[in-house]
Symmetry: C2
Subunit: 218 residues, 2 copies
């Protein structure tokens, strides 16, 4: 019974890492759509989100089944509840990618991001995508050290976001209100993706160590 339980728990973490992989694709494609103005890729992200939702439902159903049938306690219980929370956050990261894709689609045939601010936006996107990729590995390897490191890298995103504000609020900003509003919202979406990535990584720390990340140096 206990062995079966742990096999099922392992399978659930494989599913979580799989969803994280889907989110990584979504973030990457949304960014590609954003920077290229390619509406077909934007649509792919928007439609693809249904599969992330479906995968979330499967994890939720499995978690309920585990809780009902196996009645875990202590660490096992915390792990199942953590999985439920992680899947909610991963789904939300998918939703945020959809928001990015929708801004891309809204501006076609133009591109939402003016050329001068592309480096900053591209870096925000790259940081977000990289964080999602690392979360996937953190889930698979239950890698506490990598999870703690990820939490520290969140500052890079904050810094990029501040930089984007400096650029679009400068007196030289020639692109008007619409582009500025797009950039501000895009920054918010990428920042939230990064926040959720850190949060998912911290739940892995909790699952493995039983401690909150702040007690282990995160």
């Amino acid at each position: 019974m206990r062995e079966l339980f742990h096999d099922q728990l392992d399978a659930m973490f494989v599913d979580l890492a799989g969803i994280c992989g889907q989110v990584e694709t979504a973030v990457g494609q949304a960014t590609e759509a954003l920077l290229s103005g390619d509406v077909a890729i934007a649509e792919q992200v928007i439609i693809g989100d249904i599969e992330i939702d479906r995968a979330r439902e499967k994890v939720e159903d499995d978690a309920f089944a585990l809780l009902s049938l196996q009645q875990p306690v202590a660490g096992d219980l915390r792990t199942v509840v953590a999985a439920l929370r992680m899947v909610t956050e991963l789904e939300r990261m998918g939703d945020l990618s959809v928001h990015v894709a929708k801004i891309a689609r809204l501006r076609v045939p133009q591109v939402a991001v003016p050329v001068e601010i592309r480096p900053t936006v591209s870096r925000m996107a790259a940081v977000a995508e990289d964080m999602v990729r690392r979360v996937s590995q953190i889930i698979t390897g239950r890698d506490v050290e990598a999870a703690i490191e990820l939490g520290r890298d969140d500052e890079v995103m904050d810094q990029l976001r501040r930089q984007s504000f400096t650029e679009l609020l400068s007196d030289d900003w020639p692109h008007g209100v619409e582009a500025a509003v797009d950039i501000a919202l895009l920054g918010r979406y990428y920042e939230r993706i990064a926040d959720h990535a850190v949060s998912v990584a911290h739940r892995v720390v909790f699952v493995v160590t039983g401690l909150n990340p702040s007690s282990v140096g995160a």
Copy 2:
């Protein structure tokens, strides 16, 4: 044992309604700070959020204790898991109120919202605050009908948000990029508060009926 369990569950829902009340205060004060430029009220929201976090921790601890010690199944299990999710969303609504308060604080001694767009922003804030107030009653009364109605009212918020975009993207917008970016982000925060309110209300529907809100007309 079962009676004790249900007493504890009832107490947890009293706590959830209490947190919802704290969030209602936070949304109201953040809006007041925003529209008046009163930095002391903004600070109150920011500091007050610690208490919402603390109240969340209590609900989480109680939920874990219930799951561990009472090993609920079926509907009871779903109710405890729903409570865990509701408290996460309520805490998030508190965080969003802090974001509103921080925009207010950032612009002091100015006011972030230019006079022409105050009616739209005030209405967004009023809709959000009203939705939070109703969620509190929905939690207390396990009121399925009110919960379904709340879901429908979310459209009012979407409409106000679109209207705010129309105003700040119009050729007559005289307030420049900074104010426009503030309004866009404020709109996003109020919209997310409303989204979470609907989501919490829908979890009440699920707790009471065992059905997803979409199956009962929400």
